[in-house]
């Protein structure tokens, strides 16, 4: 179980580190902790893996990555771990998850993301992926994103905060 102080700390840091000389001291002040404790707790959370990464969260679209595609495959269960690990190593793959199938309407169980500057480039990368991993025999689909209706929610957790999970759109 996460300590209440750590939860509060994560909720506060999620808002974004202040761009000022001593950002952790400012966070500490808000939480009635001291700077060293904030740094120690964040280091521990990162080491434990609860914080997957700490850093700059870029806006891909704004940086020219206008084409982003969710690519999905139907991989036999016996192969999915092996294939997931393999696919995740390609430089242009952003995320790679196993998720449940939903019968005929959704037969796919492996999900990955490709961000590219153009649709053509993304399609080229997908062809390369399929060829390199011998995925030709597995059903796949590609879902390009169109409109973004909401990029990041208001923070929401017990007292009204939420967590930024990685989806990198």
């Amino acid at each position: 179980m996460i300590e209440p102080i750590d939860l509060e700390l994560i909720i506060t840091v999620q808002e974004g580190l202040p761009i000022t000389s001593r950002p952790y001291a400012l966070i500490a002040e808000q939480l009635n902790l001291d700077e060293a404790e904030v740094i120690a707790r964040l280091s521990k959370l990162k080491q434990q893996g609860l914080i997957k990464r700490l850093g700059v969260i870029v806006k891909h679209r704004r940086l020219g990555y206008q084409s982003n595609a969710m690519v999905v495959f139907n991989i036999p269960d016996a192969l999915i771990n092996q294939m997931g690990q393999r696919i995740s190593q390609f430089q242009f793959i952003n995320l790679c998850y196993q998720r449940p199938r939903h019968g005929e309407q959704w037969p796919y169980n492996l999900f990955c993301m490709i961000h590219g500057k153009s649709r053509e480039k993304v399609l080229q990368q997908l062809s390369y992926l399929i060829e390199s991993c011998a995925l030709e025999n597995y059903a796949h689909d590609i879902l390009f994103s169109r409109r973004c209706f909401k990029q990041r929610g208001a923070l929401y957790f017990p007292s009204g905060s939420g967590f930024s999970h990685e989806n990198r759109d």
Partner: protein, 160 residues
Amino acid sequence: MLSSLHKQLLNDYQQDFPLSPTPYLDIANTLGVTEEEVLAAFAVLSEQDFISRIGPIIQPNQLGNSTLVAMAIPAEQLTQTANIVSDFPEVNHNYEREHHFNLWFVLIAHNQQHLLDVIEQIEIQTSFKTMQLPLLEDYFINLGFQLDLESKAEPLLVSA
């Protein structure tokens, strides 16, 4: 235009932002610039919306419960439905995608019951079914997304 300092800040500090009392000074020392320059560059990146923030990404399902959700909505009702969905504070990353399942979003709640309650509310308020796709396994080894900030984007074929 992005300077080389901007580009370094965007590419090199996605994973391991310094956890020291003076992280911006540490970055400045590494890059051979002044702390003021680093602070100013981050301020520009933030004001001009190139970064959403400097902060943590939480491992999915470590705190609370989350799921990816897809819905198949008739084109003429999509905007309206998407807006209903976006109004839920638990909703994040709400996107239109080119597919029969054309509305995709992530739901994050503080426990499983809360998650189910929100899904039920979304179905009631939109009158459409949801398809839930919770994460079963995360294969991604995060090496950071190396941005190509040199080559220009090719013309768009589809409106973003």
